[in-house]
């Protein structure tokens, strides 16, 4: 029987009423100054005595059999200490335990351009690079498949471990009677959408260092966002017991999902360190980062949406073809998410999705911020906008009419708790002056709206087990300081600060008196890592439990010394205070010393596990179920240059219900970063390979892959909506991924308001927008369509 870790949720002593002194305040991040002074050591900043440098030799072909690799002559080169190939890693792995379909290095054949084939360790980078260039590999080039439909139809199996040919995963689920409901709809909107692939583009390239310690423990430092899964896969692939491996995540330079599974470099440095007895480092070049990818899946989506005459959604029918690239990665989850995460904030009368993920000879896709649900969200929100236009209903009003409500179940049986979506809509409507301006601005200028929901962690962990999803240990000592041990990965989102804020709130300590030790498998409790927006809710809850246990312990000793009831003692601003008689106080150092003298070392653990009753009772009904859901609404304002097709986003209003905002400045940062990242996907970014040039990436650099700069990025106004959720610590939900979703359809919908054309394919690049405007003009000239905003055209000239 699994332990019920959620029984004690922390919280205040009965009868105690205390004003929050940290929650909801503006905080400086606990480690930001060290980062800004250039003092913090990221993975590539680590330098160990005798360290070797590793370079990975990669396939120049999209699909090719390896006939031979001449390791021996490279190994004989001066300065080269080790060479490993796929034969050194026969055990396949995969972050999802059901789909182990990749080897650390290609064993028999390479499946995409950039697939790792061999790794070389040498005394310095120059020597390693020279050896990598010298390594002779004989290839037999095989036919490659880049187009998912073509790949699906082909008899050539790309991934040797696949059990279903080039079909990576298929999910078909139906809730209610879709065909009947479509038949009885007064308006059915049918549309084809394409969401282009995009990548994370963290400024820090992937990097890993491995060293075998004198006691035989293999230590791997890696720029990973999921140390625990890396730890598990290292043990599996290297065939070592987990207790002989230590994984440390140094400060991380951005991730966004791009570092959420093991990569070839981690296995290579570990194996080479074991072989050579020396520390080994590998730093990806920026080109390698692009080829390692695991970014947003390209999706072709066919949607049919049925509305009644009042705009209520009677049916949603979605058919999705997902281009997965060469490996499964998180693909099983992606395929479910492409349908499962769509069923809020609107109530659907019936819903069916049919998603297929296909293997192609491209860098594998995986999770990127808003995993699997950003693409279908684009489709559905454009569908709703088209429905609103067809029915003559204001797009915000149409969304209100379909609001699913709070404390309710979605059609796919997910339990929703708090839901601040209506307030989100109101806030963006008011701030953007929607009522005064929507449809009324001059030709070329427009507003668009979209909404979304996202998970705050997943109820079920990637590998099934009964252990807690999160655990935190807090200890105090007589110096008046707290140490917080957490396996959670701070990837820049500020999770370590979040933990410090909670401990500070509970124990009355200043943030400066709290040390957070995180993501070191030898020192910290197991945590599953930074993905699915799980940390604030899950690790936060565990931290509240640990810290509140200590608070009660300290308060009890102080109360007994002062001979007053415990509820009169408050720990705040570095002191223990008698609430009724504030002159009676002592420093926390004294209070901790008092408790330490009575009880010995002051230490407590907190655990968190998800509630197991909030998902659907059908196969796959657990995937995508979350303890709590965030909600978001965006309004985007655009200016479309009708002569060039250039879309300028003037401003974005983003309202996000993150539950209780533990640290509003940090929440705003997440909202702004999300808008920025989605904005790039809407207008600029595409991660594509050239089908006619053997599958090479069209622009594997930060210049050619067009990430928005300071100049491109629109003005962003963040509006925090706080609908506290019972499941979250102090009511908090996620903020890091949800606010990305609506920006892409909001821009598309704004372009429609501006110039009357529908952009159903990302990115909305100038040639595409211009072509759409010209096509519409032709239709207007032939009388097929009325001129868009005819009355408002003069104004622009």
């Amino acid at each position: 029987m699994a332990g019920d870790f959620t029984k004690e949720r922390g919280g205040r002593i009965e009868g105690e009423e205390v004003q929050a002194w940290q929650i909801g305040k503006a905080h400086r991040k606990i480690d930001a100054v060290d980062r800004m002074r250039g003092l913090l050591r990221y993975t590539d900043d680590l330098k160990l005595p005798g360290m070797l440098h590793c370079k990975i030799v990669r396939s120049p072909y999209a699909h090719a059999k390896i006939l031979s690799i001449d390791s021996a002559s490279v190994l004989a080169m001066p300065g080269v200490h080790g060479v490993v190939t796929g034969k050194d890693f026969p055990t396949p792995y995969g972050v999802i335990p059901w789909t182990p379909d990749e080897n650390a290095l290609a064993v028999d054949k390479a499946l995409h351009v950039g697939d790792g084939v061999a790794a070389i360790a040498a005394i310095d980078e120059d020597t390693a690079n020279a050896a990598a260039r010298a390594l002779k590999i004989e290839w037999e080039v095989l036919p490659a498949h880049f187009d998912p439909a073509e790949s699906l139809a082909s008899a050539d199996q790309i991934n040797p471990y696949s059990r279903t040919g080039n079909l990576s995963k298929k999910v078909m689920l139906e809730f209610g009677e879709v065909e009947n409901q479509l038949a009885s709809s007064s308006c059915v909107i049918e549309g084809d959408y394409f969401f282009e692939g995009s990548t994370h583009g963290a400024i820090e390239p992937h990097c890993a260092v491995a060293n075998v310690e004198p006691n035989g423990v293999l230590t791997v430092w890696s720029a990973t966002q999921v140390s625990h899964y890396l730890h598990r896969e290292l043990a599996k692939v290297l065939d070592l017991p987990g207790n002989r491996i230590r994984v440390i995540q140094p400060p991380l330079g951005g991730a966004f999902g791009g570092k959420s599974e093991p990569f070839d470099l981690e296995f290579c440095v570990a194996k080479l360190a074991l072989q050579t007895g020396r520390p080994v480092k590998c730093l990806y070049t920026r080109e390698e980062v692009f080829y390692s990818h695991r970014g947003r899946h390209p999706m072709q989506m066919h949607y049919r949406t049925g509305f009644d005459k009042d705009g209520k959604i009677l049916a949603v029918d979605a058919k999705t073809l997902i281009d997965g690239g060469a490996y499964s990665s998180f693909g099983l989850v992606t395929t479910y998410y492409s349908g499962q995460l769509l069923c809020a904030p609107y109530a659907f009368g019936s819903y069916r999705f049919d998603s297929k993920r296909v293997v192609t000879n491209k860098p594998a896709c995986g999770p990127k911020r808003g995993h699997g649900s950003v693409q279908p969200r684009f489709a559905i929100e454009c569908q709703l906008d088209k429905g609103a236009a067809a029915l003559g209903i204001d797009p915000i009003e149409l969304r209100r009419r379909n609001f699913i409500g709070h404390d309710t179940k979605t059609i796919n049986e997910f339990q929703i708790g708090s839901n601040g979506f209506m307030e989100c809509l109101e806030r963006v409507e008011a701030s953007s002056q929607w009522k005064e301006r929507y449809g009324k601005m001059s030709y070329g200028r427009g507003l668009g709206v979209a909404g979304s929901t996202y998970i705050s962690g997943t109820n079920y962990c990637i590998y099934p087990n009964d252990m807690p999803q999160a655990a935190v240990q807090v200890s105090l000592d007589r110096s008046g300081r707290a140490r917080v041990f957490s396996g959670a990965n701070d990837i820049g989102q500020g999770s370590s600060t979040m933990l410090a804020v909670i401990v500070s709130e509970e124990l009355g300590l200043e943030l400066a008196d709290i040390r957070v030790v995180s993501a070191d498998s030898d020192l910290c409790p197991v945590d599953l890592g930074a993905y699915s927006s799980r940390i604030t809710l899950m690790v936060g809850n565990a931290c509240v439990q640990a810290a509140s246990r200590l608070r009660k312990q300290v308060v009890a000793h102080v109360a007994s010394k002062w001979q007053i009831p415990a509820k009169r003692v408050n720990l705040v601003r570095g002191q223990a205070v008698d609430i009724e008689n504030p002159e009676t106080c002592m420093s926390l150092a004294e209070a901790f010393a008092l408790a330490e003298a009575e009880d010995g070392m002051l230490s407590a653990v907190g655990n968190y596990n998800t509630p197991r009753d909030r998902h659907g009772e059908y196969r796959g009904g657990t995937i995508g179920a979350s303890p709590a859901y965030s909600f978001t609404a965006h309004v985007a304002e655009v200016d479309v240059d009708v002569d060039t097709g250039v879309v300028q986003v003037i401003k974005v209003w983003v309202a996000h219900d993150c539950g209780r905002a533990l640290s509003p400045k940090i929440v705003e940062g997440q909202m702004e970063g999300s808008v920025y990242m989605g904005f790039g996907e809407a207008l600029m970014e595409q991660h594509v390979v050239d089908y006619n040039k053997g599958g090479v990436h069209t622009g594997p650099s930060l210049l050619d892959y067009r990430m928005p700069t300071f100049l491109d990025t629109p003005d962003i106004e963040s509006l925090i909506v706080e609908e506290a959720d019972d499941q979250g610590p102090y009511g908090a939900k996620e903020a890091g991924e949800g606010p990305l979703h609506p920006i892409i359809p909001a821009i598309s919908n704004a372009i429609f308001d501006a110039v009357g054309v529908r952009m159903d394919k990302t990115p909305f690049s100038p040639p595409r927008v211009l072509a759409a405007i010209e096509a519409r003009r032709a239709q207007e000239a032939s009388g097929e369509l009325a001129p868009h905003k005819a009355a408002l055209r003069e104004e622009r000239r």
Binding site: R28, R35, G38, I123, F256, R286, G492, G494, F710, I716
Partner: protein, 188 residues
């Protein structure tokens, strides 16, 4: 007795770290001697002729504050100041800095945080912080040149060669504008 003494090598299961002698190779190209002033300090450093300024700072001088994000001049994370002008250290050969004055992010903080750092911290303008050293170097050079309070538009234009993937730039612009006021006041 340490664990290693108790276990025979085969029981440890790994080759011992000191099983192979350390290799100490000296190359003639390492003999290229450069002298420069780095963060106010005269340094002499030997480096291969093809080393970039970024490599010399990071590998030879252990000034790891300047970051390598792309190594080809696209991201701006390696931005330093050469004689007060913002430069991409990954596109600058170390020899080009010979006899000149280099300022890195490590040189920004004396007894107090630099106003730019303080404003960035207050605005929570650094998330992962990897682009931040380059941003600080570029922003400081820009504000020093301007010598007055700057507008958001001027900041966006001046900083367009520094990429940040976390923040959406909003809070960085806030911080640079705030710092420009403090720095301009300090000058008067």
């Amino acid at each position: 007795m340490s664990l290693i003494e108790r276990l025979a090598p085969q029981e440890v299961g790994f080759p011992l770290p000191w099983a192979r002698p350390a290799r100490n190779k000296v190359r003639m190209s390492d003999a290229l001697l450069l002298s420069m002033k780095v963060n106010g300090e005269e340094v002499e450093v030997a480096a291969p002729a093809h080393f970039t300024l970024l490599e010399v700072l990071r590998y030879k001088l252990d000034l790891i504050g300047s970051k390598q994000g792309c190594d080809k001049g696209d991201c701006g994370a390696c931005t330093v100041q050469l004689d007060g002008v913002a430069r991409l250290s990954c596109l600058t050969l170390a020899v080009q800095a010979n006899g000149r004055e280099v300022r890195t992010v490590e040189g920004m903080t004396g007894a107090h945080l630099h106003p730019l750092q303080d404003c960035m911290d207050k605005s929570v303008a650094a998330q992962c912080g990897f682009c931040t050293p380059g941003i600080l170097m570029a922003a400081e050079a820009f504000l020093t040149k301007m010598g007055r309070v700057v507008t958001r538009g001027e900041v966006a234009e001046a900083m367009a060669s520094n990429l940040c993937r976390c923040t959406g730039y909003t809070k960085i612009v806030d911080a640079i504008v705030d710092a420009s006021a403090i720095m301009a006041e300090g000058k008067n």
